[in-house]
């Protein structure tokens, strides 16, 4: 599914740049290839350029430089209505003066389909999102989740091969959002369409995507499947942005094949996996996931932590402690049978494996 060769890429951004004011670049040198049938998510904080990329793909913004290819053909000069790309908007953008049925028939009507064929396809699309009885309603009479499904059905009813989604679940409450994530995922699997999805919600990105492109500062920081992104972040931004992360700043003092030795400010020396750090003498950021820290001395990198705060979360206990000069060091203690009961103010052993601690760029 993940085809990296340019010949087979369904959507390709080739050295794309975008500037609005001629002074700063919102998108800097974007290269991205998306395979047919892939579910790719653009994830990033607001202002990172992800929505701009989506709008360029849809045709609502023009690229300042570079080519965007769809199915091998450059589409820079093709107007949006000829691109045949389905799109779901953040506020759904259902036409308020039309009924649900008319909304769905709109893309078929402008394509010149006959009435009976239109009705058949509209009903099919509505059934697909389990909204078959709502064809006669106005969008304003529907709940947020129902509107979302209609927007989805409308973007799919004319059978586009590519569907763009711009934070489509942003306006829904948490429970509904999670439910819709699965529905979108299942629709994608069933129909086999290519989906480019924009969100700033990392859990949404991780649950739904085949691959995630993490955007920051107009660039893709890392493009990888969700598990790789979480477990093997390539730089400090990705490590910090995806999931919870413990950050320790230090200096590289020795370098072996794949590991480095890092001196931390309080005199502690630890070994870490060399991922994206400089040579001896360079500053580095160590990244360590909270669930990979043990509260004993079972792992090779050992030190002590001073418990600052305990938060009970049911399935686990979140323990904030001070380790190697970092007051925000977090350890997750699973609420398993016979787990250790920590107290605030207590000093405890902490340890971790070298391969779980990644030495990244200094941020």
């Amino acid at each position: 599914m993940l085809d990296q060769t340019s010949d087979d890429a369904f959507v390709a951004f080739d050295r794309v740049q975008k500037s609005y004011d001629g002074e700063t670049l919102v998108v800097k040198d974007l290269n991205l290839r998306i395979g047919k049938g892939e579910f790719l998510t653009m994830l990033g904080p607001s202002g990172s350029g992800k929505t701009t990329c989506l709008m360029m793909l849809a045709g609502f913004e023009t690229a300042t430089h570079g080519d965007i290819l769809l199915d091998g053909k450059p589409i820079n000069n093709i107007p949006p209505h000829k691109r045949g790309i389905g799109m779901v908007f953040q506020n759904y953008a259902l036409f308020p003066h039309m009924t649900v049925g008319e909304n769905l028939a709109f893309p078929l009507e402008v394509r010149g389909l006959g009435k009976s064929e239109r009705e058949e396809k509209v009903m099919g699309a509505l059934d697909m999102v389990q909204m078959g009885e709502f064809a006669g309603r106005r969008p304003a009479q529907l709940s947020g989740g129902q509107q979302q499904r209609i927007a989805l059905a409308r973007a799919l009813v004319f059978e586009p091969e590519l569907v763009l989604m711009d934070e489509p679940l942003g306006a829904l409450d948490k429970q509904l959002r999670e439910h819709m994530q699965f529905e979108i995922k299942h629709l994608h699997e069933r129909l086999g369409v290519t989906v480019v999805y924009v969100t700033h919600d990392q859990s949404e990105a991780l649950t739904m995507s085949d691959r995630v492109a993490v955007f920051d500062d107009g660039r893709i920081q890392q493009l990888a499947p969700p598990d790789v992104l979480y477990e093997q972040p390539e730089n400090a931004f990705v490590a910090q942005f995806i999931g919870e992360n413990n950050k320790l700043n230090g200096t590289v003092t020795a370098r072996a094949d794949s590991t480095v030795t890092v001196d931390l400010p309080n005199g502690l020396t630890v070994d870490a996996l060399a991922v994206n750090c400089g040579d001896v003498g360079a500053a580095t950021t160590l990244s360590l996931r909270p669930e990979r820290v043990f509260l004993d001395q079972s792992a090779p990198n050992r030190t002590t932590g001073h418990v600052q705060e305990l938060i009970y979360l049911g399935d686990h206990i979140r323990c904030r402690m001070s380790v190697a000069g970092n007051d925000e060091f977090v350890v997750k203690v699973p609420n398993a049978a016979g787990h250790r009961h920590l107290k605030v103010g207590e000093t405890t052993d902490v340890s971790w494996h070298t391969e779980d601690c990644r030495a990244l760029d200094a941020s």
């Binding site: 849809a58 609502f60 949006p80 209505h81 953008a93």
Partner: protein
């Protein structure tokens, strides 16, 4: 605190056993009183300075007590007279008339009566003035009939007397009939002579010109409002100031400026002649006609169209048009099928605002309209301040009001007043 019983058999009760509705009303009474106190000064002001005078003015359109007050005995005596016989009233009527006229002439009321009756039958004004001068000198022992006919042979005309009888009731539809070019005769309602029919065509012209002005405002205002609502805030603010600029200049100044621009030797004609588009004797007649009124009023009323349109367009997210385009609609289809229908409430608000302002406009048509570009309101003003026929002015005003209400009702039927919004 919620001890209100949800018993299906009785009204819901509050905690202390009183019906919930009553205790809610009591709780809200203070607020209502406060609200009333806040609007009371304005309400009184409007009532005293606006509603009462207007009511009084409108009442004048049917009021007609002048005949029965000036000639009380004559009116009573005339009740027995049957004008259909074609014979003059008997001596008793003339005697009563003499008695009334002596008193009237003494108090100088007969000229006012003459003017009033002159609205209906021409020649009445001079007849009453002439008679008033001589009524004192009449011989009370001789029959009055011949003496009156001697003063003016019109008194020997059945028409004169039937006109007095016809307009002797205290209320009359005469002014309203007059406002639609009809007149009340002993034979019923008839059309006025052709050369005196002006009001129906004037009402019609007022409507047509107001429609034209509304339409021109829409045509010119829509693109501007569209541009305004799609520009970034800073430039749209600047443009908005330009739109509102006319409000900061006096209406009179703006209208006079149009006079300078539009007149025969004015800027526009001179420019067109200078660049050779027009020949010197082919100058366009742009002022003192309907064209002048349309141009000047479209300019003056344009902001009233742009502002509601702008505020409605501002609320339409750009994602609608984008969605339409992503679904395959061309620019035009996206505009016409998706954007335009959503601006209809703004068009409705702007159109009704401009139309209602235009239909009652006075000063601009007066200055640039000449004779073929004036509105009904100019005629009303003429009757208020020059001819002093307030009854007719009131009737014309009421007819205009009724016309506007009918149009408003039609508008509600067609567009739906719920669909009108100002933002």
């Amino acid at each position: 605190m919620t001890s209100a019983t949800d018993d299906a058999t009785g009204p819901v009760l509050a905690a202390d056993g009183t019906p919930l509705k009553r205790s809610l009303n009591r709780a809200l009474r203070r607020q209502k009183l406060r609200a009333l106190m806040l609007v009371a000064p304005l309400l009184l002001f409007i009532l005293i300075t606006f509603i009462l005078p207007i009511g009084d003015m409108l009442f004048r359109s049917v009021e007609n007590q002048i005949v029965s007050e000036t000639l009380p005995r004559t009116v009573v005596a005339l009740e027995d007279w049957d004008e259909t016989t074609g014979e003059l009233p008997d001596e008793a009527v003339f005697a009563a008339f003499h008695e009334d006229m002596v008193i009237a002439a003494d108090q100088k009321l007969h000229t006012r009566l003459g003017s009033r009756l002159n609205y209906e039958v021409s020649g009445m004004s001079s007849l009453f003035r002439k008679t008033g001068r001589r009524v004192d000198r009449m011989d009370t022992d001789q029959p009055f009939r011949d003496q009156f006919i001697d003063v003016d042979k019109d008194w020997g005309d059945v028409e004169t007397w039937s006109a007095i009888k016809l307009f002797s009731p205290e209320y009359t539809p005469g002014y309203f009939l007059n406002s639609v070019d009809r007149t009340l005769t002993p034979d019923g309602i008839e059309k006025r002579p052709e050369d005196q029919r002006i009001y129906v065509s004037l009402f019609w012209r007022t409507m047509v010109l107001s429609f034209t002005i509304t339409f021109s405002c829409l045509l010119l205002g829509y693109p501007v409002a569209f541009l305004l609502s799609n520009l970034p805030l800073r430039s749209s603010n600047l443009l908005m100031i330009l739109v509102l600029l006319p409000f900061w200049t006096s209406l009179l100044v703006r209208t006079s400026a149009w006079k300078v621009l539009l007149q025969d030797q004015g800027v526009i004609n001179n420019t067109l002649v200078a660049i050779g588009i027009l020949s010197d004797d082919g100058r366009l007649a742009l002022i003192n006609n309907a064209t002048g009124t349309i141009i000047a009023m479209t300019h003056i009323l344009l902001p009233f169209m742009i502002l509601p349109l702008f505020s409605v367009m501002k609320t339409i997210p750009p994602s609608y048009v984008r969605a339409a385009k992503s679904l395959g609609a061309t620019d035009w289809t996206a505009f016409w099928r998706v954007y335009f229908p959503q601006t209809v409430p703004g068009i409705g608000a702007g159109a009704i605002l401009v139309f209602i302002l235009a239909i009652g406009y006075y000063i601009t048509p007066e200055l640039v309209g000449g004779t073929s570009g004036i509105f009904i309101s100019n005629r009303i003003a003429y009757h208020i301040s020059s001819s002093l026929n307030w009854g007719l002015a009131a009737a014309l005003g009421s007819t205009l009001l009724a016309l506007v209400l009918v149009l408003y009702w039609l508008y509600d039927k067609i567009v739906g007043i719920d669909n009108v919004k100002l933002g």
